[in-house]
Symmetry: C2
Subunit: 218 residues, 2 copies
């Protein structure tokens, strides 16, 4: 058991080191040697967990979904807003999520399946939009598969812009502005009137997610 725990910890150390090196040098220029130096582990340990640089990148990309937990809500539009708020909080605070988003936008990350993380988000949102539609929360013309693509794309750019102009300092403000511009074209007015996208809610969502992750780890 202690050995298994040690393996999990080593894996995590390597992943954080890889995220940092990808973040600093970009995927193409990053080398396994840099990651080894950053992680302080042996070559053998690294290759035991990750057979290649592509695998490391793919795991960093997937890490943004790890432990991501948003409770069920009666309103599926609120659930979508909650997902957006929680991701926003993590993007401002979690280096692994920052590295994952950066990698997903790295056009020079050849051999890495960058599309996968976009499709993952698209699927999560589409699923909620379909439920929202089934319970009458959406305007009649909405096609969930189209609207999910608009949400994922628009969010992606809002974070790029916020990163370029303020290193994500103004991310929350820009994200709520985006939601206020998009939701009225998606949801019926009675749903809009009760959507909560406050800073307080964002902090509460993160606390809940952390508690959930700890409960599962025990």
């Amino acid at each position: 058991m202690a050995e298994q725990e040690r393996a999990i910890r080593t894996r995590r150390t390597i992943l954080f080191a890889a995220a940092k090196v990808f973040q600093e040098h970009g995927y193409q220029a990053a080398t396994i040697s840099q990651i080894l130096a950053e992680a302080g582990v042996t070559k053998g340990a690294l290759y035991f967990h990750f057979p290649s640089k592509e695998d490391l990148a793919q795991e960093v990309l997937l890490s943004q979904n790890q432990d991501f937990f948003v409770p069920d809500r009666p309103s599926k539009i609120q659930e979508i807003v909650d997902m957006v708020l929680l991701h926003t909080y993590r993007l401002q605070t979690d280096p692994l999520v920052q590295a994952a988003v950066r990698l997903s936008l790295d056009e020079l990350a050849h051999g890495v399946n960058r599309g996968e993380s976009f499709i993952h988000w698209d699927n999560l949102l589409q699923e909620r939009l379909e439920k929202a539609q089934a319970q009458g929360e959406l305007l009649p013309h909405i096609v969930p598969a189209e609207t999910s693509g608009v949400l994922v794309g628009a969010y992606t750019g809002i974070q790029s812009l916020s990163q370029a102009l303020s290193k994500h300092q103004d991310l929350s403000t820009r994200v709520t502005a985006l939601l206020r511009h998009l939701l009225p074209s998606i949801a019926v007015p009675s749903i809009l009137a009760s959507v909560d996208m406050s800073q307080d809610r964002m902090l509460k969502l993160h606390a809940d997610m952390t508690a959930q992750a700890q409960a599962q780890a025990q």
Copy 2:
């Protein structure tokens, strides 16, 4: 005159070569030697036009605005849609514009003022939104400075997503979906009803821009 023309041509050759090298290797890894080899010019010629790699990047960034021409329209919302359509066409067809957009999103382009091109677009849109507001085209709650940021950010991400998933093949479809989701929260219904965002209009706008650029060159 012939000499001046030659200088303009050389400058353009260097700029295209730089765009290609930045596109292939990213800003950080790109070298002046690679750009020289690609352009087939002497070191002296390059440094005569561009004192440094940063200058080259800044010029590539600015190039997306070069010759960008959208005629005045009675509806300023239509004028904004026209700008979006024209930029979309250029992003699908012009390697210099592609390189400029990629550079503006290159987090490793240290020393390059990436924010400038976002702010340029933000200003262009904000100016049109203010005119639209003055002539009653906008919904009462709209704040032009906020809405311009939403438009620039959302567009940026739609192109990133389209680049990652289809190498910009589905860009037009995604862009019109975005506009259909954003405009109803921005413009009054009577304006929405007459907005044209067709493929035909996009092609016509590009033809007009090209004619305008040729007329100015003469």
